[in-house]
């Protein structure tokens, strides 16, 4: 038995029945990382030694009854924009290359309370800006299905690590699709929770009104389990919702009879890969066969959402990234004699081109004379998008769309035209604009064997509905039993 191929709920069963031990689990992952990480390069920081020590301590405490958590000793990987006390949090940026956070993010505190074991910090596009993890300042992470392809992004390290069995599950963050799109590219499950369900305290901000932390897992049940751990009201985040805690595994019932699924046809527009379209149509058919009502309808907000997304996200980012000034932490240029040079040279030398591009765009749309034309309008469009979704959810329980118009592409072939790149986010961003939950699950592979992702969107706090629908579908098609990442085309 290869421990690293198991899901977390399977690991829990085997721990319960004493088939395996906590130390064995960690050891298996450490060995897997030692073996495969050089091919995938999913991590920025690995904590192999620390994890094994921690496993020993936890195992002992579980044995003598000091710890009772069901998750005690389960390893996890954490995206490198989530603050971890005493361990570097780099955001895959030269700016924070050596930054050690003085505190734990709220989600990290929650992981620690449950005695999970961190295997390390996972690679990403710099400051979560990008969709291929090629914008990491350190290295490119590879797609475990085909090592010459990108894992998607920005949580590419998280998705690749889960797909490559380097971690059993991982935390990612999603501002415009950064959990769902890499999950789709890597054939795993990625859930972006409703805005406000998971605390953002300690998540290095990209766009505050859009960012949300969420799970990237091998299957839907694991997504529900990890969601159970990380949700909950946090008084340190005023946008965190004060709601009663829910056990998200209770909703997994394999039952979708009479579920009303809306298919917004505008999400299947031009630029959509034919094979992706085909897989999605098969998925719709599967849902029909399971007794769901699937209906196409018009939700004409995709383009507006995308434009709005780039205006709002960049505006917020331009302000959020002002704090990187080379004074209190982070990169400081050697080339300065006065304050102005300290600022400009530190920022210009340490931010990558995509980050700079977004800061410039964001600064522009907020600057005097343009605020009304862009930012203000975008916020009105945001209201429109919310209202349109609300209308849609009066008719349908969930919406089904592709996660991305394409499958994972070759490393280095990413467009030099940023706009073209941004257009690839068309299916995911509207979910963030409206603050809705969205999950991406695999629904097949294309002719080259690359996974295709399907996105299910729910109304606000509709996690249970989409988790159940995803679970029913997953149990029906049994993707994981048919397909596994094969590390095709290894690095020669």
């Amino acid at each position: 038995m290869d421990i690293t191929t198991l899901t977390v709920h399977e690991l829990q069963e085997k721990l319960e029945s004493k088939e395996i031990t906590i130390c064995q689990i960690t050891k298996a992952y450490v060995e897997r990382i030692e073996q495969k990480e050089k091919e995938v390069q999913a991590f920025v920081t690995t904590l192999c030694k620390e994890a094994q020590e921690r496993a020993k301590q936890i195992e002992e405490k579980v044995e003598n009854g000091q710890i009772t958590s069901k998750f005690a000793g389960i390893p996890i990987g954490i995206k490198d924009n989530i603050c971890t006390k005493g361990v570097k949090t780099t955001c895959s940026s030269k700016m924070l290359e050596n930054f050690v956070a003085p505190y734990d993010a709220t989600v990290v505190e929650k992981l620690k309370e449950e005695n999970l074991i961190s295997l390390g910090k996972l690679n990403m596009d710099e400051f979560a800006m990008g969709g291929s993890t090629e914008y990491s300042a350190f290295h490119v992470t590879r797609n475990p299905w085909n090592l010459s392809k990108v894992p998607g992004g920005s949580s590419g390290g998280s998705a690749a690590a889960v797909a490559a069995n380097l971690v059993p599950w991982a935390l990612g963050s999603d501002t415009g699709g950064s959990i769902r799109q890499p999950a789709s590219f890597c054939g795993v499950v990625g859930l972006k929770p409703t805005y406000g369900l998971v605390s953002r305290y300690g998540l290095v901000a990209f766009a505050s009104s859009l960012d949300q932390i969420g799970p990237i897992t091998k299957d839907v049940e694991d997504a529900a389990l990890l969601l159970n751990i990380i949700t909950g009201h946090d008084e340190k985040d005023t946008t965190s919702e004060n709601r009663e805690k829910v056990d998200y595994t209770n909703c997994l019932k394999k039952e979708v009879k009479n579920l009303k699924i809306g298919i917004p046809k505008e999400f299947f527009g031009e630029g959509m890969n034919e094979q992706v379209k085909e897989k999605l149509q098969q998925a719709m058919q599967t849902y029909r066969e399971m007794g769901a009502e699937v209906e196409e309808f018009s939700l004409d907000i995709a383009n507006y959402s995308l434009a709005t997304y780039y205006i709002i996200a960049c505006a917020e980012a331009s302000s959020n990234l002002g704090r990187y000034d080379g004074i209190r932490y982070g990169y400081r240029t050697k080339n300065f004699t006065n304050l102005k040079d300290l600022y400009r040279n530190s920022r210009s030398e340490a931010f990558g081109p995509e980050v700079k591009r977004r800061i410039i765009l964001g600064t522009y749309v907020l600057s005097s004379g343009y605020y009304d034309a862009y930012y203000k309008k975008a916020q009105q469009v945001r209201t429109l998008v919310k209202k349109e979704f609300e209308k849609a959810f009066e008719k349908y329980d969930i919406l089904l769309t592709p996660t991305s118009p394409s499958v994972a592409f070759e490393i280095g072939t990413k467009s030099n035209n940023p706009l073209e790149m941004y257009l690839a986010d068309i299916c995911t961003v509207s979910v963030n604009i409206a603050g809705l939950p969205g999950i991406s699950i695999p629904c097949g592979v294309d002719s080259e064997g690359m996974p295709v992702g399907m996105q299910l969107i729910g109304p606000r706090f509709g996690e249970e509905v989409i988790l159940n629908a995803a679970y029913a579908y997953e149990q029906k098609i049994k993707f994981r039993e048919q397909y596994q990442a094969e590390f095709k085309g290894g690095v020669c």
Binding site: A101, Y201, G202, T238, S319, R323, L366, S367
Partner: protein, 480 residues
């Protein structure tokens, strides 16, 4: 044209630090003067990932200030980010309020000349965070950033350009200071920077409708500099205009030593603050009930105290005004009078001798070292005839030096008034014996002689003899 043909127009932006226990967006203490960077946390140090949470007391205090200055309180407002780079601003944006301030459209009344009241409009009051402090390193050649003050809550009170002289500006600022002290939302210590003002000055020819171009002097923190700066700047502007020049809209630095304003160096960057709603903070929606509750619990303001002093205690308008100008003085008055039940005497003492000593010592009323009880007891001792008013003055001096129970003071110093008939009679006889000429004068109709004799007796008793009794007994003896 002469200087008299111009009118100066002044507007003030007053920044007051609120006296909350913690900062506006984090739970760090706000104590003044702590060791550098010891009252800090991930939030006020702008660590990546840290988030602000608004202190409810800040909202309450700002509403109090708004209500006390006749503002409308916005039911619906928000926090905005003001983006600019400066080393004392760790996030590179200040959380402030842009287009929806908490309070708007208020006014206060000032009186520059007796009886002449003037309304000064208040455009808005909003909440925001203070910046950190830059310390300059004389030896190392750099500057050092201390973030203890970063995130201390401020209200900014923006006036209309309604003031027409440095005197009016001073009266306005004193009024604002006094109100904030009365409602106990700021300690207003100008020397610690917890009350400071940006002063906008322009001039125009009298009778003109339009305002002239204004200049701004930032962060002024003493009445004296504000008055001097306004006067200097108005004169400078008039001079420029008289020479046919134009005023440039700019920020100036007031230099207290030379008594001049200087253009700030960095003019090349026209500021563009790119205000936008802070997505880390949620909307503020205040119910009518909430605002009413604050209104109902608002402490009595100087205006209403003034009226009450006139009605309840029969004090003159002038005295009531003077007493209520400072919260400390006014509180001292109320407390003392509630003990000794002699409002007029308390008012007289506070406004004459106490005020004189404060002036001599160049200190404000809040630095008075003795308590209301001390003052009241002293007045009661006079009323009972235990000491004379003359001794009272000496007791007061002593209270400033070494505040303690006046009864103890007079015992220690042996200042108790002699009211014993026998003892006084003895003194009277002794003085009469020594001054036969005065007796003769008195009998010859010269009333002045009586005064002389009483004076001699007071001298002999070092002021302790009861003057009424002396008078009475001398008359009895002389008329025998």
């Amino acid at each position: 044209m002469a200087k008299e043909d111009y009118e100066v127009v002044i507007g003030l932006e007053v920044h007051a630090e609120l006296s909350t226990k913690t900062k506006i967006f984090c739970s760090c203490p706000t104590t003044f003067g702590a060791e550098p960077n010891t009252q800090v946390c991930p939030v006020c140090m702008a660590m990546p990932g840290a988030l602000p949470v608004l202190n409810e007391t800040v909202v309450e205090y700002a509403i109090k200030a708004g209500l006390a200055t006749n503002c409308e309180i916005a039911g619906n407002c928000k926090n905005d980010r003001k983006n600019y780079f400066y080393p004392d601003l760790p996030k590179s944006y200040q959380i402030s309020q842009f287009d929806k301030p908490l309070c708007e459209h208020g006014y206060v009344e000032i009186a520059v000349e007796e009886e002449q009241k003037k309304k000064i409009g208040i455009t808005r009051i909003h909440i925001e965070e203070d910046a950190g402090k830059l310390n300059h390193n004389e030896f190392g050649g750099g500057s050092l950033v201390d973030l203890n003050r970063a995130g201390v809550p401020l209200i900014e009170i923006v006036s209309e350009p309604d003031m027409r002289s440095s005197k009016e500006a001073e009266a306005y600022l004193r009024k604002i200071k006094s109100i904030l002290e009365y409602i106990e939302v700021s300690d207003c210590k100008m020397e610690e920077g917890s009350l400071r003002a940006d002063v906008n000055v322009s001039v125009r020819r009298k009778g003109m409708q339009e305002y002239g171009t204004r200049t701004e002097m930032k962060n002024m923190n003493s009445f004296r500099s504000i008055i001097r700066a306004i006067e200097y700047e108005a004169e400078r502007q008039i001079e420029v205009l008289e020479k046919g020049g134009t005023i440039e809209q700019e920020t100036l630095r007031w230099d207290d030593v030379s008594g001049k304003t200087f253009s700030m160096r960095d003019k090349e960057d026209a500021q563009d603050y790119r205000y936008f709603p802070d997505p880390d903070l949620v909307a503020i929606r205040l119910s009518k009930e909430y605002i009413e509750k604050i209104q109902n619990n608002l402490p009595e303001l100087p205006e209403s105290r003034r009226v009450r002093y006139m009605q309840e205690f029969g004090l003159s308008k002038k005295d009531s005004n003077l007493l209520t100008a400072s919260k400390y003085l006014s509180n001292l008055f109320e407390e003392a009078q509630s003990i000794c039940h002699n409002a007029k005497a308390v008012a007289n003492w506070l406004l004459s001798d106490v005020s004189r000593i404060l002036n001599e010592k160049e200190i404000e009323a809040d630095k008075i070292p003795f308590t209301a009880e001390h003052l009241a007891k002293m007045i009661m001792l006079i009323d009972k005839g235990t000491i004379s008013s003359a001794i009272g003055k000496k007791v007061l001096e002593e209270l400033f030096e070494n505040p303690k129970d006046p009864e103890e003071i007079i015992k220690e110093k042996g200042w108790i008034q002699i009211s014993d008939e026998g003892a006084i009679k003895e003194v009277v006889n002794r003085i009469l014996e020594a001054n036969p000429q005065s007796i003769a004068d008195f009998k010859a109709g010269k009333d002045r002689a009586l005064g002389f004799l009483v004076g001699q007796a007071m001298k002999e008793t070092k002021g302790k003899a009861n003057p009424q009794m002396l008078n009475k007994m001398f008359l009895e003896e002389l008329n025998k």
